[in-house]
């Protein structure tokens, strides 16, 4: 599979560090950041393909961050991360274009599979956009 970049956004630093480390060990180009605002700033400067986004964060929460991300980068695929599963936020997340949900504590294999599927979707989407531009 082609190289792609993953951004993980979570205010729980322990969780963030572990997950970045574990993904890196599996040859995933992963970057961690601890707030929604910072993530949006980083997206302005750097290119990412898939974002893993915690639903519950102080400041800009996951759903708000998701909305902003989708506005700025419509092709970006976002996987929501949730500890205290709230159905309401789940419904909202899917409505605002999240790719999938992962429950904390995330199983790394499960997460990896979802990251791959999300990346595949982004590639499909980009291909489709290219095709329409050609016509």
């Amino acid at each position: 599979m082609k190289e792609f970049r993953v951004l993980i956004v979570d205010d729980e630093l322990d969780f963030l560090e572990t997950i970045v480390k574990r993904l890196k060990r599996r040859q995933v180009d992963a970057t961690g950041i601890d707030s929604g605002i910072k993530a949006l700033e980083l997206l302005e400067k750097e290119h990412f393909d898939v974002v893993i986004l915690d639903v519950r964060m102080p400041g800009l929460d996951g759903i708000e961050t998701l909305k902003e991300m989708k506005k700025k980068r419509p092709l970006l695929e976002v996987i929501m991360l949730t500890g205290h599963a709230s159905v309401e936020s789940g419904v909202q997340g899917m409505q605002y274009g999240a790719f999938d949900y992962v429950m904390k504590p995330a199983d790394i294999n499960d997460l990896l599979e979802k990251i791959k599927a999300a990346h595949e979707r982004k590639a499909l989407h980009e291909e489709k956009v290219r095709e329409t531009k050609m016509i």
Binding site: A85, V87, V91, M94, D100, M103, A117, R121, L124
Partner: protein, 310 residues
């Protein structure tokens, strides 16, 4: 299709008489009964003309019927649009009325030296907060409507439907268990992978599970089952032991803005969005319910991707 083939047989019926009399004419001719043969021939010709006239009439009537059918569909569409706009008007009018009241109240507070009153800032802040929340409500409605209207082309990917449903079930399970709602799974193990748009399907599954939990309220079961069905498709069934849906609501349940929830609790777009998603994915969604016996939503999805028309 069956209609068409029946039509062609119908078309042939009127000619039967003329074919028979023509045959009779030939037979009489051969047996030298010339006068009777001539009579039969005349009969054959007249019945042939009558038959031709008849089939033409039938064709014309059929065309008219098609035309009327189209007109009916068109007027049904118009009625749906009418209902839709009154739905929007209703949904937007409530928040507008509240915003109006709050601004009136703010004006009242600011009259004269009312701003000097000790609780004036708090009152104003309260009113502003209410206005902001009502504007948000309007925004949500318009956003959902746009989402509904936007023709998002599905992106087709392979998906393990059991896993996809299970992920959403787990999302709902915690909140459900607090209300003593049990999730009963019945997944067919060797279900084929389905070519579909996974996030869109997740949205539908989550919506159905959420509705089921809402319909139950407290104490009950949500049963989820998957199975392969005929015509290379899969069947996803979501049943609840909730209050059920009255007969007169069953026809309208997928209509935009149809809701039985109290104002502000639901926009009535969830199921209509789900319906349009499933149609886009080339499938169909149906509902069966009786008051007091819960409700069952069934989704049929093609295993291979096929584009549905909206």
């Amino acid at each position: 299709m069956p209609n068409e083939s029946r039509y062609t047989i119908h078309e042939l019926y009127p000619y039967a008489a003329s074919v028979l009399t023509a045959g009779l004419a030939i037979a009489l001719c051969l047996s030298k009964e010339i006068i009777w043969a001539a009579v039969a021939l005349v009969l054959a010709v007249t019945s042939f003309l009558a038959a031709r006239r008849l089939t033409r009439e039938i064709k014309k009537a059929n065309e008219q019927k098609c035309h009327l059918d189209q007109q009916l569909i068109q007027s049904q569409k118009l009625a749906a649009i009418g209902e839709l706009s009154s739905g929007i008007a209703h949904e937007i009018n409530n928040p507008l009325a509240i915003i109006g009241q709050e601004t009136e109240w703010m004006k009242q507070i600011m009259k004269g030296d009312g701003l000097q009153a000790p609780d004036a800032p708090d009152e104003l802040r309260d009113s502003l907060r209410e206005i902001v929340s009502q504007v948000d409500r309007c925004k949500e409605i318009t956003h959902k409507l746009l989402d509904f209207a936007r023709k998002k082309e599905p992106l087709i990917q392979g998906a393990d439907v059991n896993k996809l449903i299970e992920d959403m079930a787990r999302l709902v399970e915690k909140e459900a268990s607090q209300k003593n709602i049990k999730l009963v799974r019945n997944y067919q193990k060797d279900l084929p992978r389905v070519q579909t748009d996974p996030p869109l399907l997740r949205q539908v599954v989550l919506n159905l599970l959420n509705n089921a939990a809402y319909a139950i309220g407290k104490d009950g079961d949500i049963s989820i089952s998957t199975r392969q069905s005929a015509n290379n498709s899969v069947e996803l069934v979501f049943s609840d032991t909730g209050s059920g849906i009255p007969k007169e609501h069953l026809d309208k349940i997928f209509d935009p803005f149809f809701t039985t929830k109290p104002p502000g609790k639901g926009t009535g777009l969830g199921l209509s969005i789900s319906h349009s998603i499933i149609v886009k994915l080339g499938g169909r969604i149906t509902v069966a319910s009786e008051v007091g016996c819960g409700a069952t939503f069934t989704i049929h999805l093609p295993v291979e991707a096929s584009k549905g028309e909206v």
